[in-house]
Amino acid sequence: MNTNVMTETAGDIVAENKPVTADTIAEQNADAYETVGNAFCDQAKMSMRNVNVFYDEKQAIYDVNLDIGTNEVVAMIGPSGCGKSTFLRCLNRMNDTIDICRVEGQFYLEDQDINDKKMDVVPLRARVGMVFQKPNPFPKSIYDNVAYGPRIHGLADRRSDLDEIVENSLQKAGLWAEVKDRLHQPGTGLSGGQQQRLCIARTIAVSPEVILMDEPCSALDPIATAKIEELIDELSQNYTIAIVTHSMQQAARVSHRTAYFHLGKLIEVNETEKVFTNPDHELTEAYITGRFG
């Protein structure tokens, strides 16, 4: 069932054991470490405390503390296998779908601990939506793709309400003009960039409070990427966004704060501008100057 994710995870673990530079060996051997910079904020929408994640016996994330402020865009960067995607997937409990994954720590959405086993993931995921690395429209029409969330959650009582939600979401995702004449054609027939915007429209149709984006542009060409980045910028006025990205330029362009992950550890969190111009930690500097990655 989870083969895709599992192989990815296996890759993470292998990469984790491979030293990248001399500093990383020292870093890895240190039992405790402290995140430098400013991991916390006053108006936190979500706050994570003492997060540890394990795949079977292998630890993938070590003791991470991080706040995400309301209507803030937080970018998470770092080399492959540093645990940033794993961390992101914890924020709406997507890791539940992986049998061998064990998540420890407190995750507060406002004042609710979402990592509580008694917590119902269904309303949680309605509040914390997610956009994935590869565009994954359902094999249904464009309309049904966007209407799917509102339908299962019972957000529209009448057909006209649903039409309105679909139109609004597609407009917000900047896709309305392109697809309004072919709403009932399959969503899989769109181009890659359009598909990804469709997935974003699908996510915001549920009106989540937080949107998680897992490398949303990695499968797209530069023009489509630019459109998505514009969209993220617009969305940040109404939504809290956490984005994992491989591209440092993208993080610099769209985010307010940037978190740098390294081998499962959160090394540094700071204002984006500061991270890219004058990072506090030498590992961050090494990464953004391209010494490894």
Binding site: M1, N92, M94, F132, N136, F138, P139, Y148, R202, T203
Partner: protein, 472 residues
């Protein structure tokens, strides 16, 4: 010499050809200063010569043994007295075989007056055998010697051997085509003969099936009524019952195992269910006839009584001891693992990203399944169900053992019906001559069965393949 000793002779010749050719190539190599100066390894020269020797000789032996009886037989016919020569084909064949028995020294039927013909057969046989022995002996020596002479340093023996190897592989793989052709021919010709006796429309549309009774005695070759509609409805009824059991159960099993069950449960439950697929159908038939049918009979009979007791006017249910329900239920159980493993493959082929997409929006697992994965997997599941249907239609032993032979046009699952496969077996078990409409009817039924299952399989495999390509 007997065929087997001739065969041994060929083998000896082949071994000799191999040995001498190999030795010759080795000698040649020694003269040239090493094996590396030969085109191929010595063993290939040997194999090449052996093949040259074996293939023509075996071909000769086979052709001779296949045709020599037929030729002798046709020669013998002219020695028969005039009145026997004018006998109908079938009776003549019978007579000839009894004469042949006589020639073999077995006098079963009183064919004593043909002793002279029998002797003639024996003498013809010994001449044929002698000729074959001599011919084969010459052929072995000739082909072996020719192979031996062909051994030269620049002779490309390996390429020749590889070519024969490749061609034999090709031959093996075309066997599948020949099998299909063989099936088509064997059912088609007999069916055409059948439709010459019984018109097609009577067979396809007629509602009376009683091949054993002679109802139109004045007509030649007709021995009963051949309206196959009751068989088709019976097959349909039992297959429907089987599918009602197998499809929901198999599908839900596949869904539960692939989406809900932990890997440990999967590891235990899956092989346990696969056991159902490995049990021979004769066992299911035994089980259906001796355990399930009586259970249904007694169980439902009681139920009917109870309902009548409560004032509902059903009365005691009339349940046949060979009810379609028993056979259908057991067949359904047999097909469960078939449906579940095929659906399991199909469901697992749906990419994880679609599941993630649905979960990410806050779907529950069942909503993800029903709204996203099931529609995405639907073509594949339809293909799987079609394959299962074709299996149910072609299933033989369960129905032969648990269902009666009386053709009844009914859709009541508690009555006894009969199916296409049951009729095929009842018509063909035991001794039969190939000319009666009764025997030929079985082939006509076989043709119908073959066309229907072939059509179902063809479409099902295409759907499944298309579906796989969609996600590859």
């Amino acid at each position: 010499m007997s065929v087997s000793s001739l065969f041994v002779l060929i083998i000896l010749g082949v071994v000799a050809a191999f040995y001498f050719s190999r030795t010759r190539s080795l000698n040649l190599a020694r003269g040239l200063g090493g094996i590396k100066n030969l085109h191929s390894l010595p063993v290939y020269y040997g194999i090449q010569a052996a093949l040259w020797c074996a293939l023509p000789c075996i071909l000769l032996l086979c052709v001779w043994t296949i045709f020599d009886d037929a030729i002798i037989r046709s020669m013998v016919v002219q020695y028969l007295p005039a009145e026997q020569q004018n006998l109908p084909k079938a009776e003549q064949a019978l007579l000839l075989s009894s004469i042949e028995n006589l020639a073999n020294g077995v006098n079963l039927s009183n064919a004593g007056q043909f002793q002279d013909i029998a002797d003639r057969i024996n003498s013809l046989r010994s001449i044929s055998n002698m000729a074959l022995t001599v011919l084969l002996f010459c052929a072995i020596i000739a082909t072996g010697a020719w192979g031996w002479f062909k051994v030269k340093p620049q002779y490309r023996a390996r390429n020749g051997v590889e070519r024969v190897f490749m061609l034999s592989l090709l031959g093996c793989s075309t066997l599948a085509i020949f099998t299909t052709v063989g099936i088509v021919f064997s059912v088609l010709f007999e069916s055409i003969r059948f439709f010459n006796i019984v018109p097609v429309h009577e067979f396809v549309l007629g509602t009376q099936w009683s091949p054993q009774l002679s109802i139109r005695e004045d007509q030649v070759g007709s021995s009963g009524a051949f309206g196959a509609v009751p068989l088709f409805t019976g097959t349909l009824l039992i297959s429907t019952i089987a599918m009602i059991v197998a499809v929901p159960t198999g599908l839900m099993t596949a869904i539960y195992l692939s989406e809900y069950a932990s890997s440990r449960v999967r590891l235990v439950v899956k092989p346990l269910l696969e056991i159902l697929a490995g049990i021979p159908t004769v066992v299911y038939g035994f089980f259906a006839a001796l355990t399930i049918a009586p259970m249904i009979k007694s169980g439902l009979h009681g139920l009917g009584f109870d309902l009548a007791f409560l004032g509902v006017s059903f009365g005691p249910l009339e349940v046949s001891g060979e009810s379609a329900l028993a056979a259908g239920l057991v067949m359904g159980v047999m097909i469960i693992p078939f449906v579940s493993s095929l659906s399991d493959d199909v469901i697992n082929a749906v990419p994880q990203s679609l599941r993630d997409g649905a979960y990410g929006l806050g779907s529950t697992q069942s909503e993800t399944m029903k709204n996203v994965i099931f529609p995405a997997a639907l073509p594949g599941i339809v293909g799987a169900i079609l394959l299962a249907v074709s299996r149910a239609i072609g299933e033989t032993m369960i129905v032969v053992m648990a269902v009666g032979t009386a053709a009844r046009l009914t859709f009541n699952p508690l009555e006894s019906v009969t199916t296409v496969t049951v009729q095929m077996t009842t018509l063909l078990i035991g001794d039969h001559e190939f000319d009666s409409a009764k025997t030929l009817a079985a082939f006509a039924l076989g043709l119908v069965l073959f066309i229907i299952t072939l059509g179902l399989n063809f479409f099902a495999l295409r759907i499944v393949k298309k579906y796989r390509e969609q996600y590859d």
